[in-house]
Symmetry: C2
Subunit: 234 residues, 2 copies
């Protein structure tokens, strides 16, 4: 998410390559940074084939699980943080796991509350209290190591694919969320002051439902129907 240092992007790619991960997506990089990264001598193949996108939702593609990483020092929100050593077992327990996206914040600010609201879970790397914040490339290295250690390395196609059910992609969840937000707007549920916070909670709530594609379609249909009724009167 919005990385600022070409060396860090390169280091993250190197760590991914070391442990067998291949698909990097860079969200909203500063243009000069991204140009420099890609033109660096000896840039990893992972970097040269990485996608750069403008929004988180684009980044997730059809990932059905999004897991954020945090030092956990601020912004814990109301959520439990999953210690990194417990992350593999948590992944294995998920029934709805399809593609999994692991999200890292920018060097300076980490992930914002809005970024975190896209995450099904937050993983905390167990750093010490008086020096919690890790270098980006090292955070990626440690997470990749933990997943590789547990045998959760993606096989080709280059992503972690565990098709156990019919999970919903992040994009269709985002459509559902947009639709729900519009309906809440139309019925006057969202107050200007609390609007932002309420929408973050709504996104969380929708994520927590762990909808299948089938569920998402049905819910989307219901919302469309509600919206139509509101706009067109009884």
């Amino acid at each position: 998410m919005r990385p600022r240092n070409p060396l860090n992007i390169g280091a993250a790619a190197r760590a991914m390559a070391n442990f067998g991960f291949r698909e990097m997506v860079v969200v909203a990089p500063y243009n000069p940074v991204w140009r420099e990264t890609r033109s660096a001598l000896g840039a990893e193949e992972i970097v040269t084939s990485a996608r750069a996108v403008q929004s988180l939702v684009e980044a997730f593609g059809d990932a059905s699980l999004v897991v954020g990483t945090t030092a956990g020092s601020r912004r814990n929100l109301d959520r439990d943080l999953l210690p990194l050593p417990d992350f593999p077992a948590w992944l294995r327990q998920r029934k709805a796991a399809g593609l999994v996206a692991l999200l890292f914040g920018s060097e300076k600010t980490g992930l914002s509350n809005e970024h975190l609201s896209y995450c099904h879970a937050l993983v905390r790397i167990p750093t010490v209290v008086d020096c919690p914040s890790m270098n980006l490339g090292q955070a990626v290295a440690v997470c990749a190591y933990e997943l590789a250690r547990a045998g959760l390395v993606p096989t080709r196609p280059p992503r972690l694919t565990v098709h156990l059910s019919d999970p919903t992609g992040a994009q269709s969840l985002d459509h559902l969320f947009g639709r729900a937000a519009r309906v809440l707007d139309q019925v006057g549920y969202l107050k200007p002051k609390s609007r932002r916070a309420t929408l973050l909670k709504l996104r969380r709530l929708i994520l927590d439902l762990e909808l299948t594609n089938h569920d998402a379609k049905i819910l989307g249909g219901i919302l469309a129907q509600i919206e139509w009724r509101i706009l067109n009167g009884e």
Copy 2:
């Protein structure tokens, strides 16, 4: 060991700080590199308080176990490589464990056979075959994470201290080794062609004995006596 990039030294220190490790020793750094590292804006306390020494033996100080890190692609010698995830259990099983030094090679070349001959064990970070070699700072991060994960973080005094017996320090082992080498020279055991390889094996053999201080003193005394006899005739 002979790091070449100030950023890597800084990154290694950062990772150490993240997981609660404090004592860094830099062996034979290039002078400009070391100056630049120490004067870097925001240098970690670990860097500013690090010792720079000229030889491996000085670096180990009174560490009684030296563990090298390797990608394991070349130079396996005749030794088993300990996968990093098994390292904490291995450490706990050691009866003679006092202070433990973890040794990282230089960025370009890793650890040489001579460096490896100082090591009681070699740890391999389980990277993938087609991209085995890790960035120095990331290798330190992953090793520090694994040790912290297992609860093997040093308490103050800032080193991993598990005083189970009366282990020999690296320096007194080195004296013993020097003495043994001299004796072998005097008796004509070392041939010019194989001298270097034989001495590496000798160092390994002495390490493998896992001598206590008491043992080392006795052996040292025996060797001194042999040397005296050789030099002074019967």
